[in-house]
């Protein structure tokens, strides 16, 4: 049996065992048996070991060969976190559990007001950082198998096909055990148990190789120490800045890596498990690292210089013909790689599915107009998570293929660490600083992410012809934008350089933007919830029915659904449970259905909150309350809008009523006017018709009567003409159809003309008294119109003055630049009752026929309004006085 065949059999066996363990652990967890094992703190601690990937397992020795003690930083960072920052981790775990967090992206999203933008940025960052890392694991597996093939003397070894097999197998495992449950916040006991076993295997493998080297090869501790001192790597060169940076990066990655978050927070069963992990995990790391230097020294001493130091752990036993040990070492590396890939794929898939695929799908659904939150969402969730696992592993495989599987991958680990560390400021800030805001987190992350891509990823992956000009001249030709010498600071180690700039600017942007932006209410509350998580959180989770009173639930349901419907629902539930009692058992499934039923009536958030209240087992989270408040706020907003609209309608209605009243009034005025015009026209026409018929039909009419009747017809025809003229004149004035003809004339001339016209043809003209010297000034206005007013007033005096010796006096006064002309007669004056109406149309108040049209004063008033003046009746003890008042425009 060749070595390769042995390896294949062992691998398949090992895989079968892992599948079996995972399956068995899932079964146990489902049946709630053997909790002492499934939920053991030691399993939790061991599961944290997925931190140690193949990069650590194999690469630590390689790193020691190249850079001496630097490899220790990778172990030092997490150990420091575990020992000195366990309280911070405890807070993280508590927050994660109380908020039902499913991933690190979900955590940041929840903290910063359920922002999906933030979650998708984190998801993107994680996928970009971790995909090459997955490729690295695939590479380590194929390269280690290649080593066995070389030992077997096989040359036609197809590493690509092996990588594909491994990828498919890992995808199968992750899909099978990672997406069994619908609820992302439920534990994956099978996976955790399997990686705990793998943790033991890789630790045992490294220690076995170490013991073999120290005692089997070197012959004891003393000799080993001696060989270390004499080795070329024994010259400890510690570069302070790089040492510090790498330690910090490892610490940050330990907290921020999606897979670490998955096992540390999501899979955590009990935060007390951290107590054990806080010392046991550093111990585990110590065991993993303690033999690194001896193996490196021995490898350098024994193996040919062409041997890849990254695989000394494997090639040493192989070279020394310890095949079983080599297989064990291979299994260790295999475990390290597979456990990392599985958990990384699971955690990334959750993020991709929850924050990229599902939001897209939902928006598509709502675009198509029917987002039903029913069972098919669960199917979509499962499918998308499975597809995401396949997609991520596919990406990893593609990256492995494209990068050619060479040494290019070796440096990927630190690149990934630096990328993932960009999450740290937002994460820690979110946990400890209430002032941190979404905008701050988003800008910090974006800035850090961009600088990381530019200063570390780009130089790593870009081809030379793109990279060379960039390295020389900087971006857009700006010298200060060179990837390895940002802002002109050159000569630093690339990783230190990238970390320095990306992290410091990340922090600066995060803090500054946070300070200058305002959190939304839900962000504020979530912030308080996160920062003060220990004050008010209890354990989270689904409904646990034990404490629930079915009666209370029924009472509540009746209140919401109505008695008949609630009873029908409960009856159905009893049937479904095959129960016999009056009430269904409050199982979690029943509670979930009830919540769904209620949510149809009162909204999901309110339903959850109410069931939670009655159940009394799961505290109603702030998020629930906020959602309830949001729903009420929407309703309130809606009702406010309605109120505002109703108010507007009231105002509009009132305006319409007012307009209607006005229109009715205008319409009535028009009707009245028409009636009056009709009357004024028909009356003379009646006389004309009657007398013309008399003249026509009566043959024996005396000449005196003939002449008399012809005169009447003539007078009435003239009256008609006057009336029509006045009507047209008034209409022209009222509509403003004629322009004013402004000229200049002396008042004296105007009055002369007016008196002459008004009294022309009068048998007994009224005496007009004037004082010529007061009339000698000039006025500038429409002279014809003004004359028309004067004529009307003088003619009125002539017509209506009842005195036996009628006279009218025209008095002129100049007051404040205005001309005042009074026409005062010695008649009886106008009855005070009628003084208000004499200027209205057809408001003739004297019974006797005066031959006027009834429009004279209305026309006067209209003219004076147009001349920016007025005409009014001034009451006097004897006689009437009409006062004309207009602007003395002559300067």
């Amino acid at each position: 049996m060749t070595l390769l065949n042995l390896l294949a059999i062992v691998c398949v066996l090992y895989a079968v065992i892992l599948f079996a363990i995972a399956f068995w652990a899932d079964r146990l967890a489902e049946q709630r048996r053997a909790r002492w094992l499934i939920s053991a703190p030691v399993v939790y601690t061991l599961s944290l070991s997925i931190y140690c990937t193949a990069w650590t397992f194999y690469g630590a020795v390689g790193s020691a060969v190249h850079s001496g003690l630097e490899y220790l930083t990778i172990y030092l960072g997490p150990s420091l976190v575990m020992i000195s920052w366990w309280w911070g981790l405890r807070k993280l775990v508590r927050v994660g559990r109380s908020q039902r967090i499913s991933s690190i992206a979900d955590l940041l999203s929840a903290r910063y007001g359920k922002s999906n933008t933030l979650a998708s940025v984190v998801t993107l960052l994680a996928v970009v950082s971790v995909t090459p890392y997955i490729a690295l694991q695939l590479q380590s597996i194929t390269q280690s198998i290649a080593l066995f093939a070389a030992a077997d003397g096989q040359v036609d070894f197809n590493s690509n096909r092996i990588a594909l097999f491994v990828t498919v197998g890992l995808a199968g495992f992750a899909v099978l055990f990672g997406t069994r449950n619908l609820h992302v916040h439920e534990r994956h006991h099978g996976v955790v148990m399997a990686i705990a076993v793998e943790a033991v295997v890789k630790c045992v493998a490294v220690i076995a190789v170490g013991i073999f080297v120290v005692w089997g090869v070197n012959g004891g501790v003393t000799q080993t120490l001696y060989s270390m001192d004499t080795s070329s790597i024994g010259v400890w060169q510690v570069d302070g800045s790089r040492w510090l940076t790498l330690t910090g990066l490892a610490a940050a990655a330990f907290v921020c890596l999606p897979r670490m978050f998955q096992v540390m927070v999501v899979e955590n069963d009990d935060e007390r498990h951290l107590l054990l992990a806080s010392w046991a995990f550093p111990t585990y790391l110590l065991l993993m690292s303690i033999f690194v230097i001896p193996i490196a020294v021995a490898g350098l001493g024994i193996l040919p210089s062409s041997a890849n130091p990254d695989f000394f752990v494997l090639s040493l036993p192989l070279a020394l013909d310890h095949q079983n040990l080599a297989v064990l070492a291979f299994l260790g590396g295999f475990s390290a790689a597979t456990s990392m890939v599985i958990v990384a794929a699971m955690s990334l898939a959750t993020m991709v599915s929850n924050h990229l695929i599902v939001p897209l799908w939902l928006s598509q659904q709502s675009k198509r107009g029917g987002a039903s939150m029913s069972g098919d969402v669960r199917q979509v969730l499962l499918l998308s998570r499975r597809l995401a696992i396949a997609g991520i592993l596919g990406l990893g495989y593609a990256y492995y293929q494209l990068s050619g599987g060479g040494d290019a991958l070796a440096s990927i680990g630190l690149v990934a660490f630096t990328g993932i560390a960009q999450i740290l400021p937002a994460l820690v800030g979110g946990l400890f600083w209430r002032g941190a805001t979404r905008s701050g987190a988003l800008s910090g992350l974006s800035v850090g992410f961009t600088i990381w891509i530019f200063t570390l990823v780009l130089p790593e992956i870009a081809s030379d012809d793109i990279l060379q000009p960039l390295m020389q001249n900087g971006l857009f030709g700006f010298g200060w934008l060179r990837p390895l010498a940002l802002f002109g600071i050159a000569g630093i180690d690339p990783v230190v350089h990238a970390t320095l700039w990306s992290m410091s600017l990340n922090v600066v942007f995060f803090c500054l933007v946070s300070c200058f932006s305002f959190p939304s209410p839900i962000e504020r509350l979530q912030g308080a919830q996160f920062v003060n998580v220990f004050d008010h959180s209890t354990s989270a989770g689904g409904w646990h029915g034990s404490a629930v009173q079915a009666e209370d639930l029924q009472v509540m349901s009746q209140r919401i659904l109505g008695a008949a419907e609630a009873q029908e629902f409960f009856r159905q539930q009893i049937e479904q449970q095959n129960g016999t009692g009056p009430l269904p058992d409050p199982t979690p499934a029943f509670l979930e259905r009830l919540e769904r039923e209620l949510s149809a009536s009162i909204g999901a958030a309110a339903a959850h909150a109410m069931v939670g209240q009655v159940a009394g087992v799961s505290s109603v989270s702030v998020e629930d309350l906020m959602a309830v408040a949001d729903e009420s706020a929407h309703l309130l907003d809606y009702s406010n809008r309605l109120e505002a609209q109703s108010h507007e309608l009231t105002i509009t209605a009132r305006k319409l009523r007012e307009t209607n009243t006005k229109l009715t009034q205008i319409s009535r005025q028009k009707d009245d006017f028409l009636s009056q015009v009709s009357h004024e026209l028909r009356t003379p026409m009646t006389s004309v018709r009657a007398f013309s018929e008399i003249l026509r039909d009566t043959s024996d009419l005396s000449p005196a009567d003939q002449s008399k009747y012809a005169n009447i017809i003539h007078d009435e025809a003239q009256r008609l003409t006057r009336l029509l003229n006045d009507l047209l004149d008034l209409s022209v004035l009222e509509t403003g159809a004629s322009a004013l003809n402004v000229t200049r004339a002396s008042l004296n001339t105007i009055l002369d003309r007016a008196v002459a016209t008004a009294l022309a043809g009068e048998k007994n003209p009224i005496t007009v008294r004037r004082s010529e010297q007061s009339e000698t000034f000039f006025v500038t206005t429409d002279i014809d119109r003004l004359t028309q007013v004067f004529i009307n007033l003088i003619a009125n005096a002539q017509k209506y003055c009842t005195h036996s010796e009628p006279e009218v006096e025209i008095q002129i006064a100049l007051v404040d630049g205005r001309v005042i002309v009074d026409f005062i007669d010695n008649g009886d004056g106008v009855d005070p009752l009628h003084q208000d109406v004499i200027f209205e149309k057809f408001s003739r108040i004297t019974p006797e026929r005066a031959g006027g049209s009834g429009l004279g004063l209305a026309i006067c008033r209209e003219i004076m309004t147009r001349l920016k003046g007025s005409v009014q009746y001034v009451h006097r003890i004897n006689g009437s006085c009409f006062r004309v008042d207009f602007d003395h425009s002559d300067r």
């Binding site: 009707d671 028409l674 009636s675 009709s678 009357h679 004024e680 026209l681 028909r682 009356t683 026409m685 009646t686 006389s687 004309v688 018709r689 009657a690 007398f691 018929e693 008399i694 039909d697 009566t698 009447i712 009435e716 019974p847 026929r849």
Partner: protein, 149 residues
């Protein structure tokens, strides 16, 4: 077959024309220039037909009608109302006020003569056909129904 007519009209020329027309037919015509003294005059002298203008100084034709119809003695009086306003609203109001016949100015002379003759004839018929003590409201309404020209 002529009788006595009282004409209430403020337009002197129109009054002159109607007086001329009716006089030539043998009617005796008295003219009142405003509405204030109509009822008082009618209580003393009861004409066969009353011709009433709608728009009168002092008291309008409609007001005169109301006074007239509330007088027991005068409520059967045939009334020919003349108006120069000629709006349908006026005609309705005149009908409600109990005017017997309604005529819009300008009219033809023959129309006026025919109307006065008809009213006189109808009034005489009713007086002989009906018992004088009949005061039933429905019959009154029938009696007073306006017949159009």
């Amino acid at each position: 077959m002529s009788g006595h007519v009282i004409l209430v009209e403020d337009e002197e020329n129109i009054a002159e024309a109607i007086r001329f027309l009716l006089s030539r037919e043998g009617w005796s015509v008295d003219v009142l220039g405003d509405g204030t003294k109509v009822v008082e005059t009618l209580q003393n002298v009861k004409p066969d037909v009353l011709i009433l203008d709608l728009m009168l100084p002092g008291k309008s034709g409609l007001e005169v009608m109301q006074d007239l119809r509330s007088e027991q003695l005068l409520k059967d009086m045939p009334v020919l109302m003349l108006t120069a306003r000629g709006q349908s609203r006026d005609r309705e109001m005149a009908e409600q006020a109990g005017v017997t016949r309604f005529m819009t100015k300008p009219f033809s002379n023959s129309e006026v003569l025919t109307a006065v003759r008809d009213l006189h004839a109808q009034a005489r018929q009713h007086r002989t056909a009906l018992s004088p003590n009949l005061t039933d409201q429905a019959t009154l309404a029938q009696l007073n129904r306006v017949t159009e020209v």
